[in-house]
Each structure stands twice: as C-alpha cells, then as structure tokens.
Amino acid sequence: MRILSLLALAFMCVFAACSDSELVSMKQLSSGAKLYEQHCSNCHQADGSGLALLIPPLQQADYLTNNALLLPCLIRNGAAGAMEVNGKIYNQKMPGNAKLSDAEILDICRFVLQKFPEKPISLEDESLTLALQKCDSVGN
C-alpha cells in the first residue's frame, strides 16, 4: 500500500515536472510569504509599497536590488539612520528580528527577492547563508 502511494507520488512529480529542488524552493517561497506577512507587511505593506516618506517601498526599490546581499543582516539586525531609496531619503528605525531562525530569515529573503525587484533576483543559498553568518560575527 505504501509502495503504491509512493509510486503514485513519484508519477505525479514526473508529470508535474517538479524536480526535488523545485519542490524545496516552492516550500521556501510560501514559507517566506507567510513570514513576510507576519513580520514585514505591517510596515512595508502587503504589496511592498511602503508608507509615504516614513517607510521605504520594497516594490522596485533600487536599494533592495543593489544591496540584495545585505538583506539577511538587515532583517536580523534592523536598520537606523538616513537611507536613500528610489531617490528619497528615509530616516526611521526598522526593528531587528532576533527571534527568527536562520532558515526563516533566508526564506523571507528568497521571497522578497523574488517578489519585489523589477526582475526577480535568485541568489545561491550559500551566499545568503554566508551573508547571515558574517553579519552575526560582526556582532550587533
């Protein structure tokens, strides 16, 4: 019985042309979307449009596109001080997320980088993980 259902699953995967890694990345994206809703969308809004000159947009934000590798640290430690996004200066505090695990932060990164830049940005898992490790070692 178990073998049968496994077989069925295997078939379904073949037919849906979903490779193992694709399945993983889809899971990560949907987890990222959920985490974004819980931890980011209050401020940056569900559509990433931000709030006037108080909270910068993520939607087509040049800052995000140009600093994709800073995102893991930004999520973990937050941000403060003046920051230019799409030609406008923002200067409000973004709180850090000390309670989120590495995996959760990486899921958010993948989702944000897929959804909001003009062209989706795909970064290697290794480089995201490395970025996260580095920002911890700097200590904040």
Binding site: N42, Q45, L51, A52, L53, L54, Q92, K93
Partner: protein, 209 residues
C-alpha cells in the same frame, strides 16, 4: 404573493439606504429645559469632553479646533511596529479624500508622549505629507491622553510590556460629528471599514444640526 413581498422588502431596504443615519454612541439622559415659559424634555447625548493638547508645531489645540466640524480621531505612536503603519496608510486615504474641505479634520494622538516629542511628531507629519492643519498630530500628558481615549472616544490605549513596542491600543478610527458626539468606530487596519468611514463622513456633512 411571494414576489410582492420581495419587491416590498427591496423597496424598504432601498428607501432606508436613501437616508441612512448613523448611531450616536455613549450614554444619554433626559433633561428638562425651560423654553418660552414652557418646560421641554430633551435627550442629552454623551459628547467628547473638552481637551487641551499640543500639536506637532507646539501650538495648543483644544476642542475649539473641531467646533462645528466633523472629525476622525485615532491613537498611535511613531515607533509602533505593529498596526500603526497600516492605520496611517488608511488614514492617508481619508486625508486625501477630505483635503481642502473645511468641514473635516483628522486628529492623531500619540500614546507615547515621552518619546514622541514635538519635533518628532512634526517630522512624522511632514513625512506623511500632511499640511499639519487638516491632519494634526497631538501630544499631551500621558494620563490626559489615555483618559481621553477611554472616556471620550471609547478606545483603549495603555502601556503593556508584553506588546511589541510596549503599548496596546485599539486600531480604531473614531468618527465625531459637529456636536462632538461619537457617531462611528471603524477598524483602521481594514480597508473596507475605512471605505465605509469615508462614506459616513459625508452622511454627517449632510446632516442638519
């Protein structure tokens, strides 16, 4: 027969919607007035009590600012990580709707007056794109604001160390009529309810005093 009833029901609903009135919140009492030698019994409704607060320019603001005007009040703090940015996005929609119409005012009260200094409120106001007149940002003594929230506007606002940011507060937008009576409370994080508020503003505008 069934159809006739249906038609009547539809007509009734339609007729009622034509002049929808808004409820009046709070306790009411009957009072006797003397008028031209006769005593008249009238209903007295609860009103928002008089207040003395400071706005983002450091100017004193009292109930005189909203005398004879329709206004929307809410409670927030500038560093609030939870519902405030959504509320402000929604209030910005209301502001854009009423901008330039002298009948309307928006009052946002900080519930963290120790941190939200007047310059901070000023910056917040500018960054939201408010002209600082029709949409004002108010501060004052903590107790005064909390009391006003609870007794005046039926809203909660209090410190709570377990909340992110350290405060609980309702995300309500409170609609107040020309006679300082609360006429509606809307969830300021819910776009649909805020749409309703924007319609109700104009019902109050059309209302005779």
């Amino acid at each position: 027969m069934k159809n006739t009833i249906l038609v009547f029901a539809c007509l009734l609903v339609w007729a009622c919607n034509q002049n929808k009135t808004l409820p009046i919140y709070g306790e009411r009492s009957l009072q006797t007035f003397e008028k031209e030698g006769k005593s008249i019994i009238d209903t007295v409704y609860a009103t928002v009590p008089p207040f003395v607060l400071l706005n983002q320019n450091g100017d004193t603001v009292t109930e005189a600012l909203v005398k004879g005007k329709i206004y929307v009040a809410d409670f927030f703090f500038t560093t609030c990580p939870t519902i405030c940015p959504i509320m402000k996005k929604e209030m910005l929609r209301v502001y854009q709707k009423i901008k330039g119409d002298e009948n309307f005012v928006l009052l946002s009260h900080t519930i963290d007056p120790d941190y939200d200094s007047i310059p901070l409120l000023k910056d917040y106001c500018n960054r939201l794109g408010s002209d600082g007149k029709q949409w004002q940002f108010l501060t004052g003594q903590r107790e005064v604001i909390y009391e006003l929230a609870e007794k005046g506007y039926y809203a909660t606002a209090m410190p709570d160390s377990t909340e992110p940011g350290g405060y609980v507060h309702s995300g309500g937008f409170i609609l107040v009529d020309k006679q300082s009576r609360v006429r509606g409370i809307y969830n300021g994080t819910d776009a649909k309810e805020v749409d309703q508020l924007m319609e109700d503003l104009f019902i109050l505008k059309a209302e005779k005093e």
